[in-house]
Amino acid sequence: MTTMIPSQARPTGGSTMRRSVSWLKTNLFSSPTNTVISLICIYILWEILSAVVGWAIVNASFSASKEFCGDVSGACWAFVHDNYRFLLFGTYPLDEQWRPLIAIFMLVGGILISMNRRFWSPWLAVAWIVGFVVMYIILGGGILGLERVSSTNWGGLTLTLILAVVGIAFAAPLALILALGRRSEMPFVRVICVVFIEVFRGVPLISVLFMASLMFPLFLPDGVSIDKLLRAQVGIIFFQAAYLAEVFRGGMQAIPSGQYEAADALGLSYWQKMSKIILPQALRLVIPPTMSTFISLFKDTSLVTIIGLFDLLAATKAAINDPTWRQQYIEGYVFIALIYFCFCFFMSRYALYLDREMHKGMSH
């Protein structure tokens, strides 16, 4: 004989207030030692926060002019007001700065559109290529009545974004080819990919940039010169592609051999097997480390200042070298730190969202 066991409702914790109190008790004040540690941590946090908030907001001057900064003990945000165009566009001619502004909007807009899975198709790749060409024309000028602006004058956030977005857009597909090549059964292809990856992973990005800016031109015949920005950009792409290739390869290795065998047994060709079965699973697995690589690529663009390109960090350095703003170097660095942080935090949140979104349904 069987009897039905009535199922009981799961007990709930009562009101929000009561639940928070019990959370505090179990997590922060569960024993005398824990209580002491919690109190010390709260005190340290309070000290840090009050100092930061006091400097940045309470005691700061938000007026547009530096004259009022003498009266306050906190930050002088007039620095940002006076320098923001320089930080955004570098030494781009003042009257033409609507052009890099359009470029920034194109880049950010392109990123926002690409984040939406509904737009993921081969056409998106075509749109990016066309977008890059248009952006190059807008920034460089020389045709359509636009004044010619040499790439040495592109700078600030515009340059940082160009280096990062173009870097990601080309490093990712190159990494995919390298990762496939490294797992290829053709010895020649495999050796080329292994050498490429190991060489670029084996040297610091700084030396790649130095090679690109100083040594590479020595090998070119007289009269031939390649734009310095382009050389740095290619250096960044190669360097990050080598890292990303290893991330992708790790993902492919994590796919059980049964998946390869099932695809083979069904008669799928190599490219069908890779594009329909292996890569969709492998790339899903490596969303977090891929985004980490993108984030470090974004931050590493600041190294181009060493070879004389004028990115966001270099622009800030130049701005605080101005005698007027000598004392405001903290404001300068805090401000661009915030810009870097916003972009990087945004990327890592998106990775989290994408990771969750892509694993919906296919729970194991």
């Binding site: 065998e261 047994a265 069904l266």
Partner: protein, 254 residues
């Protein structure tokens, strides 16, 4: 006897001549000779490590043999990629661990190969898929992901996935070994039905009840060799080789 004679008149689907295979120094398959006739149902058994799975995996080139000839449907298996692709279209395979594609729905699992390998239009591929899903009694799960199904359901989907390619021969590599006991029957039922409809089948399995019910021939392998083969009644009641006797006493003894 009459059935045996009928089979002998039919065309061969798989012909194996003195096939040998090594893993490094280890001789996994020794002088395998086999002739599989159209519509024949063969069960392959033997102790683990005897080379059963390796042998059938050589028939669709998941494994390479190093000596001898294997031909499927009259096409010889060599390094020729075109030949391998041709043969794989005609040879279905069901794996121990199902190997469904976890990122695709059941329906997408079934239509992928027909659409990309056989170039069937999507609507037609989906119609065929639905037909086979109904046959394995799982049509209502078409839009779920494999991870949401039980082991028995997944294996039935895997069988349907192979059938969608309209294969001339089906290879089963221990299809029930990874299943919980209560799910074995639902998979065996599907396989028995398939056998009765005349599908050519090679099945590596320890399910002797299945062998007795549907097999035309039972093959016993040990240490990479085919030791003994016979029709099931004779094989189980009157084994000739000592190793076969030992094996049968071990698996039927209790």
């Amino acid at each position: 006897m009459t059935e045996q004679r009928q089979l002998a008149d039919r065309e061969s689907v798989i012909q194996v001549n003195n096939m040998n295979k090594w893993y490094g120094e280890f001789h996994v398959l020794r002088d395998i000779n086999l002739d599989v006739k159209q519509g024949e149902r063969i069960v392959i058994c033997g102790p683990s490590g005897s080379g059963k799975s390796t042998m059938i995996r050589c028939f669709n080139r998941l494994e390479e043999h190093q000596q001898g000839e294997v031909s499927v449907n009259g096409i010889e298996l060599t390094d020729n990629v075109k030949n391998i692709e041709e043969i794989r279209k005609d040879v279905g395979m069901v794996f121990q661990h199902f190997n469904l594609f976890p990122h695709l729905t059941v329906m997408e699992n079934l239509t992928l190969a027909p659409m990309f390998v056989l170039k069937r239009p999507k609507a037609e591929a989906e119609e065929t898929a639905m037909k086979y899903l109904e046959r394995v009694k799982i049509a209502e799960q078409a839009h779920k992901y494999p991870g949401q199904l039980s082991g028995g359901q997944q294996q039935r989907v895997a069988i349907a996935r192979s059938l969608c390619m309209n294969p001339k021969v089906m290879l089963f590599d221990e299809p029930t070994s990874a299943l919980d006991p209560e799910m074995i029957k639902e998979v065996l039922d599907v396989m028995i039905e398939l056998a009765k409809e005349g599908m050519t089948m090679l099945c590596v399995t320890h399910e002797m009840g299945f062998a007795k019910e549907v097999a035309d021939r039972v093959i016993f392998m040990d240490a990479g060799q085919i030791i003994e083969q016979n029709e099931p009644h004779e094989f189980f009641n009157n084994p000739q080789n000592d190793r076969t006797k030992l094996f049968l006493s071990q698996i039927l003894g209790h």
